[in-house]
Symmetry: C2
Subunit: 219 residues, 2 copies
Amino acid sequence: MPAALDADDLRRIDEIVATRRRVRRRETLFRTGDRFTSLFAIRSGFFKTRVASEDGRDQVTGFQMAGEIIGLDGIVNDEHSCDAVALEDAEVCVMPFQRIEALSREVKALQRHIHQIMSREIVRDHGVMLLLGSMRAEERLAAFLLNLVQRLRARGFSQSEFILRMTREEIGSYMGLTLETISRTMSKFVADGILEIDQRKVRIVDPEALQRILNPPGC
Amino acid sequence: MPAALDADDLRRIDEIVATRRRVRRRETLFRTGDRFTSLFAIRSGFFKTRVASEDGRDQVTGFQMAGEIIGLDGIVNDEHSCDAVALEDAEVCVMPFQRIEALSREVKALQRHIHQIMSREIVRDHGVMLLLGSMRAEERLAAFLLNLVQRLRARGFSQSEFILRMTREEIGSYMGLTLETISRTMSKFVADGILEIDQRKVRIVDPEALQRILNPPGC
DNA sequence: CGTAGGCTTGAGAGGAATCAAGTGCGGTGG
DNA sequence: CCACCGCACTTGATTCCTCTCAAGCCTACG
């Protein structure tokens, strides 16, 4: 909440985020079909969201880290339309949506903030659609890694080294690829001197090369 | 606006949608980078939205028809992040977002409505991500056609026959396929007795078969 | 110390892209 | 009114990227 708020507004917003909930690794914060009551602000930990098609296939729709909001999918039908699974032990703020709506009718900055969060998610999804619809495996992985370090950097982490909280299979599901293709593409990046990988630990040796894969210089 | 509203609220909402704008075929309602000021409610006509990557490729992110809202992408950064192009002569209501926000602070039902529209767009995008990430060409096209007739039916049109307002290339872009693959897959559906096609006119002969392609009965 | 799950790597198959040629409709102008 | 042109579309041949199937490895964990 980066906005200009008076002390009273801040106190009332604090009340909304008063309730906490812990979610252990592999446990779900909510599931498809669960009644929607609250949005969740991630305080610590790492989540994935996934949707399932009727015939059993599923697709990871996003990875969320501390500071991000999860649960927006539930607003439209009063029930969640995806699963949110913790990839490591996590803690979230439970924010009852009724109270968010009530307070955002009074606090303009909060209303604005809510609208921006939802719009940001829509724009992010369009970016993923672009990735899934028109990029090849190397480009998808480059885009994924660059997006990840950028978000981590904004949180004060190293911009070259980080730990993947998700498996190759989960990355593959997010990117519309198989785990083998993720593994092979990562191996290729290592062979090309772009990455160093030790299990889940990734070091980006040559970020410009990743950027070049995404935006070929000849364009 | 399907909500219980008193006469005064209705009058004020009417004021918001008072301004109209006509957009001719192939013209844009807004472009990437345009300053965001308003949402648009489509009164008549058909639009596509598309995002562009830096190296020139682009991706259709959606097709919008009468009754749908367009422009939500612009809220987060006060500028639009996609292009909206009319696929046929169209008319929209211009709804200044400042006024929407102001009025939705006072009219609970309007606030709710806005939140639902944004959430619905997020859920729709997740569905497209599932399609792009895990379906084969036939499944994608079946899903597309079924979605299209369902939306047309909700507007009182035939549930078996309709006119495609977009080219094969635009369908292909939306589905992450080439125009040739769209054409071939449509031809196959015709050969299988599922569709009849005359140029842009499509008749769904066997909707159950389309549904079966999407959900193989053995699952 | 043994095992399971996650990962890597290889070989082969397959689905969609690409490249290419040709068709037909609609619009334009003579 | 008709001929011409361009654009959207169809269809075929070939290529290539990714999937699938398979085997084996490594590491964390019980």
